[in-house]
Amino acid sequence: MTAAAEPVVCFKRFSYRYPNTDFYALKDINLTLPKGSFIGFTGPTGAGKTTLIKSINGIIPHVEGGACSGQVLLKGCPTGNLSTAEIGRLVGTVLDDPEAQIICLDVEQELVFGLENYGVPPDEMEQRITTALSSVGISHLRHRSTRSLSGGQKQRLAIAAALALLPEVLVLDEPTSELDPLGTEEVFTVLKQLNVKHGITVLVAEQKTELLARHCDQLVILSQGEVALAGTPREVFKHKSIYHLGVALPQVTELALRLNGGRCHLPITLEEGIEFCRALVPGGGGKLCNRSLT
C-alpha cells in the first residue's frame, strides 16, 4: 500500500489457529497498514475478518490462546511484547455484538469506565464524554439506562466508548450491522471525520460494500483465512475473481459489469453510476463510445 506513510500496523507472515482446532483461521498474512489510512476488510463469514481484528487489538495472542506464527507489529513493536493495557491505549475496539461489550448500567458510566481505567483526570472527562457522545449522535441518551437502548443505539454507544479513549487506531468489527441505513451512513461519516480531521487510522470489517467503496482508501478481501485481493476499491471490484469471493458489489458497479464487463472506468458510487448511465444513452450528456459491447 502507500509507501509514504509509516505503517501503524504490520502483519508479517502471520498465521493463527484457535485452541482445539486443527485449521488455521489466518494463513500467512502479510499486510502493511499505513498510519492515517481508512481500510475496509470484507469477505464471507468465516473468512477471518474477526480473527484479523482480534490480532490487531491483542486479544490474539493474549486472551484467546491458540497457536500463532509470524508477527503483528504495532508501530514496530510485536503485539506479543506489549500488554493488553498498552495495546488498549493505542487501539480502540468496537465489537460486532455491542451487548458483549457494554457492561455499565447507564450510558455515561459506560464511557467513564474506560476513562477511569486509564486514569484520565475528572476535569478532562467531561470534554471527552461530550465529544464522544455527540460525534455518534447520542448526546440525548447520556443519562439513559444501557438496557433500554435499541440495537443501533447500543452500537453507537460502543463506538463512543472507544472514541473517548482517543485511540490512534480504531478497529471495528461490523459496527453498523444493526443500524438503519442513515444511521450506518452517520457512523461512517463519523469514522471519516475522525480519520481525516484527527488522523485516526480506521480499520473496519464490514459487509456493506457500497459504503466501503465511498469511504475506504484500500479494501482487503479475505477468503478462507488468506488475503484474496487488496487494493483501492475500484481495483478490487474490477478483479474477475470477485464473483467467487462472496462479496456483494455496489449495485452501480454490478450494473456496469453486467452491461459491458468492466471495460470502462468502473463506477463505484451513485454519482459515478449516474455518469456511467448518461454516457450510455444518446443525448445523455456523457461522452459516447461507439464500440458496441455485448
Binding site: S148, E178, Q207, E210, G246, A248, Q251, L255, C264
Partner: protein, 283 residues
C-alpha cells in the same frame, strides 16, 4: 379471508414514558410476505413482540390466528408463530446445535423419530447439517443466526416472524436465507421480516410496512412504498442504490417514470431505452 394477525388500536409505552407504539392498525393475511422497516427505535421489535405474547397490549387488541394474544398462553402462541430473535445469543442456550434445534420440538411432545427428522431437515435448510454436534458458541455470529432460524423452522408454524434475519451474514448467506424465506412462503407459511437491508426488501418482499416513531407511516406494495424516497427519509431509510440511480436518471432514460427495484430490472430497462443495444462508455 380471515386475517392471521389482526392488530387494532395498539399502543404501548416502556417505562420511560415515551410511547413506543401509537395506535397501530394492521392486518396480515395468510400467504403474505411482508417486510417491516423503520429506523432504529421506530418500534419494529416492540410491535412483533406483541404477536408472540412477549408483550401484552396496554391499549388495543392483537389477534393471532383468531385468538386474543393478550389472553393466550405464550406456549400456545408458539405453536402458531415462530420468532427468530435479532440477537441469536438471546435464544441459544444448549450445548450442541442439534439439542438447540430439538428443544422446541421436545416441548411440543413430539415422538423422537419425528424430532430427529425435523431437526435434520431444518439444519439442512440452513446449511448447518455438518455442524450438528458443535457447541453453538464456537460458531460465527452468522452461523449462530442460522441455528436460531433452524430452531424456528423445525417448529413448522403457520406464521414466521424474523427480526433482522440477515444481520451478520455475508452476501451469499443473505441471499440463501432470503431464498429459504421465499420458499417457506411458497410452501404456505406467512412471513413477516424486519430488516434494514432495502436491497433485500426490494427483491423479496411483496408488501412493505414502514414504521416511524411508533406509527405506521406507509403500508403498501413494495414498488409503491420504495418509490416514496421522501417518506422513507422520515424514518432514516433509503431505497436501494439502483432505485436511487433510476430516480436520478428519470426524464433522461424514461418513457414513463418506472420504479426500478433490482439490477436485473435496470439492465432490462436500459436495453429497452436503447432499442436493444448498449454501447458502454470507455476511458
Amino acid at each position: 379471508m380471515q386475517p392471521l394477525i389482526d392488530i387494532k388500536g395498539l399502543s404501548y409505552s416502556y417505562e420511560q414514558g415515551q410511547p413506543a407504539l401509537q395506535d397501530i392498525n394492521l392486518t396480515i393475511y395468510p400467504g403474505e410476505l411482508v417486510a417491516l422497516v423503520g429506523q432504529n427505535g421506530a418500534g419494529k421489535t416492540t410491535l412483533v413482540k406483541h404477536c408472540i405474547g412477549l408483550l401484552r397490549p396496554q391499549t388495543g387488541r392483537v389477534t393471532v390466528c383468531g385468538q386474543d394474544a393478550a389472553k393466550t398462553r405464550i406456549s400456545h402462541l408458539a405453536r402458531q408463530v415462530g420468532f427468530v430473535f435479532q440477537n441469536p445469543d438471546h435464544q441459544i442456550f444448549h450445548d450442541t446445535v442439534q439439542k438447540e434445534v430439538a428443544f422446541g420440538l421436545q416441548n411440543l411432545g413430539l415422538p423422537r423419530d419425528e424430532i430427529e427428522k425435523r431437526v435434520a431437515a431444518a439444519l439442512r435448510d440452513v446449511g448447518l447439517q455438518h455442524l450438528a454436534q458443535v457447541y453453538p458458541h464456537r460458531l460465527s455470529r452468522g452461523q449462530r443466526q442460522r441455528v436460531a432460524l433452524a430452531s424456528v423452522l423445525a417448529m413448522q408454524t403457520r406464521i414466521i416472524i424474523l427480526d433482522e434475519p440477515t444481520t451478520g451474514q455475508d452476501s451469499l448467506e443473505r441471499l440463501q436465507i432470503m431464498e429459504l424465506v421465499r420458499d417457506l412462503n411458497r410452501e404456505g407459511h406467512t412471513i413477516l421480516f424486519i430488516t434494514h437491508d432495502m436491497t433485500l426488501v426490494a427483491r423479496y418482499a411483496r408488501r412493505v410496512i414502514v414504521l416511524c416513531q411508533g406509527r405506521v407511516i406507509a403500508d403498501g406494495s413494495t414498488r409503491d412504498v420504495l418509490s416514496q424516497t421522501q417518506l422513507l427519509a422520515q424514518t432514516l431509510l433509503e431505497p436501494p442504490q439502483i432505485t436511487l440511480l433510476a430516480n436520478r436518471l428519470n426524464g433522461l432514460l424514461t418513457p414513463g417514470s418506472e420504479v426500478i427495484l433490482t439490477v436485473d430490472e435496470m439492465v432490462e430497462h436500459l436495453h429497452k431505452v436503447n432499442g436493444g443495444s448498449i454501447d458502454g462508455p470507455c476511458d
